[in-house]
């Protein structure tokens, strides 16, 4: 066990917590928060395990990937929030409408 695996496990935990919240909660803002927490979990796994080089300098490639990932996450969050607001303005509820035709 090392710090790498410790934080990687925390990442797994965050991923699972986020997934649970995404399934259980109906409010869209909560779902968006849940996606963000899940994302942080995945990023943590990616970066934590990059520390296993056995030297002081970790593997830089996952670091770059995660920076890409963070920017993707904020873009997606902005789009999701806008959709949520517009949908709420339309329906009066910050939740997904009932399935149509299902």
């Amino acid at each position: 066990m090392s710090a790498a695996f410790l934080f990687a496990l925390v990442g797994v935990g965050l991923f699972s917590l986020g997934l649970y919240a995404l399934i259980v909660h109906a409010h869209l803002l909560r779902k968006i928060l849940a996606i963000n927490v899940m994302g942080s979990g995945v990023f943590l796994v990616l970066v934590a395990l990059a520390k296993r080089t056995g030297e002081s300098q970790p593997d830089a490639v996952p670091h770059a990937l995660v920076i890409t990932g963070i920017v993707v996450a904020v873009s997606a969050t902005a789009l999701a929030l806008t959709l949520m607001l517009k949908l709420t303005a339309e329906t009066g509820r910050a939740e997904l409408p009932e399935d149509q035709g299902k």
């Binding site: 797994v12 080089t53 490639v61 920076i67 963070i70 904020v74 806008t82 607001l85 303005a89």
Partner: protein
């Protein structure tokens, strides 16, 4: 030495537990506003975790984007949500957010415990030492034009990802503008405190952005971090009631928004016309070219993030929409 190791471990374990606990509270806090504040705090702890994992580049990005801009986005969305709900005369939504949390659901919880256990087992089964691509990175760092390995990966070895990523930002903005229509009327003027604060803070933010951009070549920093800080400056200006004047809100704004991807595309065409591969910079000028790309990218990223925060397309009378 023994005590130091112990302290390191205690710090890491506390931080890890804190992250899990905060993550849990973010997702289960009865009050939505509370959840957002907790999410910002969660972002701060994440940034500490990046520091502990020797990833200062990510810590910078997280501090600026994860905790800062996402927090501002969420707060603004929360406020708008309340206005929308008030207009709809349905006060129940935010209340409803409170109620739903009481119900703990067993099936998903059990399922996810199994998933977590499986993934945890998988992670632990990975080899304890793995160099990944660190050897390749350090072997080629000299010819990459920069000495910060993360910048080398982002702008050179995997520069193509970065190009696509800037398109992701642009697409998000296109989506937001397409969905939300044109801008709200100008906001009320800020009070004297905010006015002074924004006057003081904006130049500092811009200066820090420029510093991060420049330092990224050899130390943690770079286009994304600089862009995020620049975006924060834009957010601050927007919050103090400032809006882009309408004759700049059309084509000039759009040109800045696409400057980053356009610089990359131009670079790609240039490198291929001069006989190289797609985005293969001439070795001697790699450093300069990367700085050029990063400057364009910083401008675009900062402007796009600020525009995403505003949410609506700035008004411009001469053009539609």
């Amino acid at each position: 030495m023994e005590a130091l190791t112990l302290l390191h471990w205690t710090f890491d374990i506390l931080l890890g537990l804190g992250l899990l606990w905060l993550g849990w509270r973010v997702l289960t806090s009865p009050d939505l506003f509370n959840a957002i504040v907790l999410f910002v705090a969660f972002g701060l702890l994440m940034a500490l975790a990046w520091v502990r994992l020797d990833a200062p580049d990510i810590a910078l990005a997280e501090a600026a984007i994860g905790a800062g801009l996402t927090g501002a986005l969420l707060l603004a969305a929360f406020a708008k949500l309340r206005t929308v709900e008030k207009n709809h005369d349905i006060a129940g939504q935010l209340e409803k957010g409170k109620l739903e949390n009481r119900s703990f659901q067993w099936w998903p919880a059990t399922f996810l415990l199994v998933v977590a256990a499986g993934l945890g087992h998988t992670v632990l089964s990975l080899p304890h030492y793995a160099t990944g691509l660190s050897a390749e990175v350090s072997a080629n760092l000299k010819s990459s034009g920069v000495s910060n390995p993360v910048t080398a990966v982002l702008l050179n070895f995997r520069g193509y990802d970065t190009l696509l990523e800037m398109v992701v930002l642009l697409l998000a903005l296109l989506g937001v503008w397409s969905i939300s229509g044109s801008a709200l009327p100008r906001e009320a003027a800020p009070g004297p405190i905010l006015d002074t604060l924004s006057r003081l803070l904006t130049p500092v933010l811009i200066l820090v952005a420029a510093y991060l951009l420049w330092v990224g070549a050899h130390a943690p920093g770079g286009a994304f971090q600089a862009g995020a800080v620049l975006g924060a400056a834009g957010v601050l200006l927007l919050l103090s009631g400032w809006r882009l004047s309408s004759h700049l809100a059309g084509l000039p704004l759009r040109i800045i928004l696409v400057a980053g991807p356009v610089a990359f595309v131009a670079m790609a065409v240039f490198t291929m016309l001069t006989g190289g591969q797609f985005l293969e910079y001439p070795r001697a000028e790699a450093g300069t070219l990367i700085l050029f790309l990063e400057t364009a990218a910083t401008l675009s990223i900062g402007t796009t993030l600020a525009a995403l925060f505003l949410g609506e397309r700035p008004k411009n009378k001469r053009e539609y929409p």
